[in-house]
Point group: none
Chain length 197, copies 4
């Protein structure tokens, strides 16, 4: 990916009236790298374009807001990184999944991207909309699945799933946003107590 991002010499011409996947890859790689290195404050479309060897317009064409870029980056990695456990036990599942999530967040691109996205959503109405429509539903899914399975097993009541999801997700956001996601399996396990009854 970095080799793509640096393909300075031969410029990447248009491939006709359609999106060039090389350009897309180069932009996402550059954005990911920039976010990792400098975080939300140091992130700029100018610099992404510079690093990707892309025109700014090409970026704005496909990702109209920074939030779109953040969402694209996050999606790529998150799915690959975390598997959904299934121990037939809500506490175990929740603890394992959350531990892995925090580990993913601590690993630079993941957490930085998420934090950037949330920050951006506070700055721009469009970003907030993107967060709610394009990001949240998909991101809440894994946790919701864990609770749904538990409901099927009878561990919790089915009509409490959504509330429990929000409670748990909120806690995770709080820890991420305040910089408290050191891997502490004990803390996580202890906290699940309230969600499991």
């Amino acid at each position: 990916m970095s080799d793509v991002a640096k393909s300075k010499p031969g410029r990447r011409a248009s491939i006709g009236s359609r999106r060039n996947p090389q350009t897309e890859a180069a932009v996402l790689a550059a954005a990911r790298q920039l976010l990792t290195e400098r975080g939300y404050a140091g992130f700029s479309i100018d610099e992404v374009a510079r690093r990707a060897g892309a025109g700014k317009q090409s970026i704005y064409r496909w990702w109209p807001t920074k939030a779109d870029l953040f969402i694209a980056i996050y999606g790529i990695e998150k799915n690959a990184a975390i598997a959904l456990p299934n121990h037939q036990d809500l506490t175990l599942d929740l603890t394992q999944y959350t531990s892995e999530l925090w580990r993913f967040w601590r690993h630079n691109p993941g957490g930085r991207t998420f934090r950037a996205l949330i920050a951006e959503a506070q700055a721009s109405e469009a970003a907030l909309r993107a967060l709610r429509t394009k990001f949240l539903p998909e991101r809440l899914d894994p946790v919701r699945t864990l609770f749904e399975r538990a409901a099927e097993r009878g561990e919790i009541s089915a009509d409490e799933v959504e509330d429990r999801v929000q409670l748990w997700v909120g806690f995770n956001w709080f820890r991420l946003l305040t910089g408290q996601i050191d891997d502490d399996a004990q803390v996580i396990a202890r906290m699940t107590k309230y969600l499991v009854h």
Copy 2:
């Protein structure tokens, strides 16, 4: 406030080798107003200075980062706005306090300021530090007090207070940051269930 913020005519001179409280008031008023009108994205030190009729240096002198400004604004209002209930019942207390908090957040300056502060903390390490040291402790206090009183009454266990605080605060942040703080007393009441056992 607006009369202070608009004191354009006679420029506000120094009152000697010490901080001028009029300047301080004008800056805070202007910052509050600007945040209300334009939110985090439209907030700039330049514009605050312009509206307050203050020099930028005067602002940087007393509030080195935007976070400091946000914290100052938030503190002024929050304390005045919300009383801590005491019905000798955790559910009642929590529901009432949280309802008022959401109402305060919905009312522009409050929520906007909080959201701006969290966003800023994701952009700047210094802001994150300010959030954790100057803001969080004081802001968590009211909720913690509610849980502590409940523990004293025997409603919950004393060593669970801190965890429950974080769970509840996290939920509130999540709703604020995703724009879901419409006053829905029923939702709040329903959610308290998990915190009250």
Copy 3:
């Protein structure tokens, strides 16, 4: 100056948007006007940008220092303003040329620009360098030509041309910088005596 204004007629090595000649003209006009009105002390890039309706970056892009701007302005006008006399007589030529030069200097933009450039060269090493390399050679040319023609006619010795040029130019600078360039043809004529032998 012509190098600044030069727009390559043929094809360009690099693609990309082209310099907008209207912007260039607007900036130079604004700079000229500002210098005329307020002189060196009142001259600022901010104000030039404001008057030209240009972005500051556009100015810094093409004229990295104020000196570059001054040189560009001066060149445009000086060449148009003063013709080089040729009476086959050094005294006559020198007197006429100098009289016209002083008149040009007294007429606002000319003198103000020259004075600003010299002042700037005392403030910045880069400006001094620009003065010596981009400005002086071309500016000394007319006077040198007068002396060279005189040498060809045998009025003076050929190896004294450069010294005489400096002596004469120095005198002119002195008068300009101390505000003594009232048109006094007699004074000028009298002073030429020392340069003509």
Copy 4:
């Protein structure tokens, strides 16, 4: 002097309703030092006050413009530095005096101060006035004396003194302002030719 300029610890209190000579000395020393280190561009009243441990108001009270400060500094040193030669020969006198002048200018404070004063005079009408009334007459004196003595000896005509002074002074300014005052006794000697007939 540097001990005066650095007298930070024990603050220099007022000595009552009159000028404090220690403050005056400290300010001049600080100004001289600052000019030496950073030149005209880096010279600011703020920094002088800081280094002198003086209030800005104290400086403005006694030296209303920067030019006044420059003139004060220059006067102190120039007189001490250069003796007026008297070899009963204009060429010799002029060559020696000018060589010493250039050496003095090359030695930091001298040249920097002079250049700063001339630059300032192009920026401010008041400074130009100060240059012409408080500075020039006194500074032209030594050179004028050389020419007057020559006139008394019959080397030159008495009514040409003033013109020759200006020609010579102009040449010297030109070399200083364009950064060409390397000690080249030969150049100076050669140039005197035109002033001596």
